[in-house]
């Protein structure tokens, strides 16, 4: 099976958005997706863009059953660890179910690792759902360490309402 891994282009925006929504649906969180292809275009292709995306693409004669050639993506941004310096943060990695087990996820991650090195990053950090055992096994096989499990680092969020409430109190 042939496919290529390449950086996304504006022509991929609708496809990447479709896959972001598929991935969110698999996490039971489709209602939490507020991004749109237009937002991704404005934020991802402007001169101040802080993130990048890789896509897995089939040749046009090998389209998916649903008629698509973009069948996976890996989304990342440059971040900074006060202990290690620049690190690449992998936000999402997703391959359509019909195309799993063919090495496409690994190919996306290999290319992301190359991006990390090109950007001078000392490590690759990412988030994975601990209930998704196949994903966890896949990452472990590549040498990843679950630092929530090993070092008790938990991920926390302050949503928009709480951020606004906090910001309003500056000087009080």
């Amino acid at each position: 099976m042939s496919y290529i891994i390449r950086p996304w282009a504006t022509r991929d925006l609708k496809d990447v958005m479709r896959l972001i929504r598929e991935c969110a649906k698999a996490h039971g969180a489709l209602d939490q997706v507020r991004t749109t292809p237009e937002m991704l275009r404005d934020h991802g292709f402007g001169k101040e863009s802080t993130f990048g995306c890789l896509v897995a693409e089939l040749p046009s004669e090998q389209k998916s059953k649903s008629g698509h050639t973009i069948i996976g993506y890996q989304f990342h941004y440059l971040s900074y660890c006060t202990w290690d310096g620049h690190i690449l943060f992998g936000e999402d990695l997703y391959v359509m179910p019909d195309f799993r087990g063919k090495g496409i996820g690994t190919s996306l991650l290999k290319k992301a690792a190359k991006v990390a090195l090109e950007k001078g990053c000392s490590q690759f950090r990412f988030i994975s759902a601990s209930w998704n055992q196949p994903a966890m096994d896949f990452f472990t096989k590549l040498g990843a360490l679950d630092v929530t499990f090993s070092s008790s680092w938990n991920l926390c969020h302050l949503d928009g309402d709480h951020v606004r409430k906090l910001a309003e109190k500056v000087g009080k």
Copy 2:
């Protein structure tokens, strides 16, 4: 007790590095700190800087026992969630032990929330050690949600060796 919260400047590099090391020591991870004041200067004050830092500063007549006026910091960078758009990622929040319980951590976070809004971020994401109950209680009080606990999101790392190993396999 008077103090100000302000964005860091190059004159703060040594102080921030001192606090980064104090914070890492409190996590039993001093040996993992590879950053230097020079690295922070080159990465944090160049035109391609991707992160920022806020410092808590005492008036010079109220120095700490150890002779310092910079007694806390909050380190952050702009990141991107495929569901929410831009988010501010809080990498570290630290206040020297002698100055805790005086609202300095909250003041740092309030200012970070203001930075988040100014940068058009929909949320503030951060990592906290689950064994550090006082920190977890502090964040919960401000409205933060531990999404590792509530939604099983775990943080994972691929270290430099594994990133290089993966990158070398591109095309194989």
